[in-house]
């Protein structure tokens, strides 16, 4: 789904700080959405914590940087970090190239998948949320 030039697939769940979550059965895949990666600019660093780290909903578990910005990555759901995208270690720019594909960031084994329902999900909700953030960030510029 394209919203004002931003690609926001409607089959994904979105955490409010602009990270997407894809349900792959036992595991959830997480990455940065198109709006955030365009706002951030070229990503130069992504923190890749050790597998096994416990993630809590709404709590910071990693950080990432572009040349001008430090971003915190918050847990979209509670669970265990089971895999990180090691390709980002030497090529964090994959997030800029392909944020929904090769630029995926983390895989989480959720404690309770029903937490996904608290994330932004339907086409209507995604649109409403993104339009509000587009306006908010335009004002801050």
């Amino acid at each position: 789904m394209e919203i004002e030039g931003y690609n926001m697939p409607e089959d994904l769940y979105y955490e409010g700080n602009h990270f997407w979550v894809r349900d792959e059965g036992d595991v959830l895949v997480m990455g940065m959405d198109d709006f955030a990666r365009k706002l951030a600019g070229e990503i130069v660093y992504v923190q890749l914590p050790e597998e096994g780290k416990m993630i809590e909903t709404g709590k910071k578990f990693a950080k990432m940087e572009s040349g001008k910005w430090l971003g915190k990555v918050f847990g979209p759901v509670s669970g265990e970090l089971v895999e990180v995208n090691e390709a980002l270690e030497e090529n964090p720019g994959l997030i800029n190239e392909d944020c929904y594909g090769k630029g995926w960031m983390y895989k989480i084994k959720p404690r309770d998948k029903s937490e996904l329902e608290k994330l932004i999900h339907t086409a209507e909700d995604i649109q409403k949320w993104l339009l509000a953030d587009i306006e908010k960030y335009a004002k801050e510029k």
Partner: protein, 366 residues
Amino acid sequence: MEAKYDFVKRYRDQILKCSKCGFCQAVCPVFGLTLRPALNARGKMLILKEVMDGQIALDDTLIETLFQCTTCANCLKNCPSDVNVPEIIRQVRKDMVGIGSCHPAFRGMQQVLQSHSNIYAEDEPEDFGRERNKKARSVYFIGCVGSHREAESTLATLRLLDRLKVDYTLIDEVCCSGVLEDVGFQTNERLARKNIELVLATGSETIITGCPYCFRTFTQNQQYAAFKENGIDVLHISQFLKRFDIEVKTDRRVTYHDPCDLGRHCGIYQEPRDTIQKIASNFVEMPRNRENALCCGAGGGVRGAFAKNSIAMARRRIQEAVDTGAEVLLTECNSCVHNLTNARLRKQHIGIYTTTAFINLLMDAG
């Protein structure tokens, strides 16, 4: 005929002194990474001679060349002709800004400091859970990187100062803005005055800082002359810490990275080692150490403007640390910690800390 640019008026003879020997190439972090002659001191002097001779223009086409330098001064240290490349680059950048040619990241930095108190435009100051602006013997000045990028490291330093019962206060500090001198602009007078006022109001005799760049700015920039005029000592934390008997010990293999701003620019090499060697019996030097230390790649604004290359430079330095067999890499600069930590690969099991943060870690464990 009057020289068109200030760099010509001030440094023409130095630029002409460059014998093109290329000794600087062996030690330049940017050349070491890119192998591009134009990004090394020798190449820059060749280019500036062409500008002086009117063969090429000083314009946007030279931004990448002339703004991609960490000003680490390793070239100067190794130059048989003593060409002061960092000073020349500083002046050239000012000349370029004067004609409207500047790297956008650096122009952005200058604009940010006109309206914000730090280079990251962060509006919320980090809360370190300590009172600010109170009367105390010393002010601890954190610096922008310590406040907004390495807050955990700063917190550890403050915990150590508390443990050592140091009478200090934080202040509502603003960016020392010394970095602007490196990237084509001037130290921000408004910010300098604010820092001076805040320090004077505490009645402190000493400013201690963990940031070598702030240390350099406070001791070398004329905008901060008021500190000396008011009899206030400025110390880097490594100079302050060496006065203490630190009781904790580690048998882990430890090495030390000399920050360029502390080492080559301020001549402080031994004080950090005095403290480290008190706590770490298994201390090992990297082959390139002290005045020959390889730059981490963060300085001179390069981390802001050329972040990918900056981190790649840091990766080369980390490898040197790993090659010593060290489990711990210590340094005295949060900017170095930040860049080196960003560059560290997962397979490189080496802890990276400022000395104070490491000491605090040992005390926590003890």
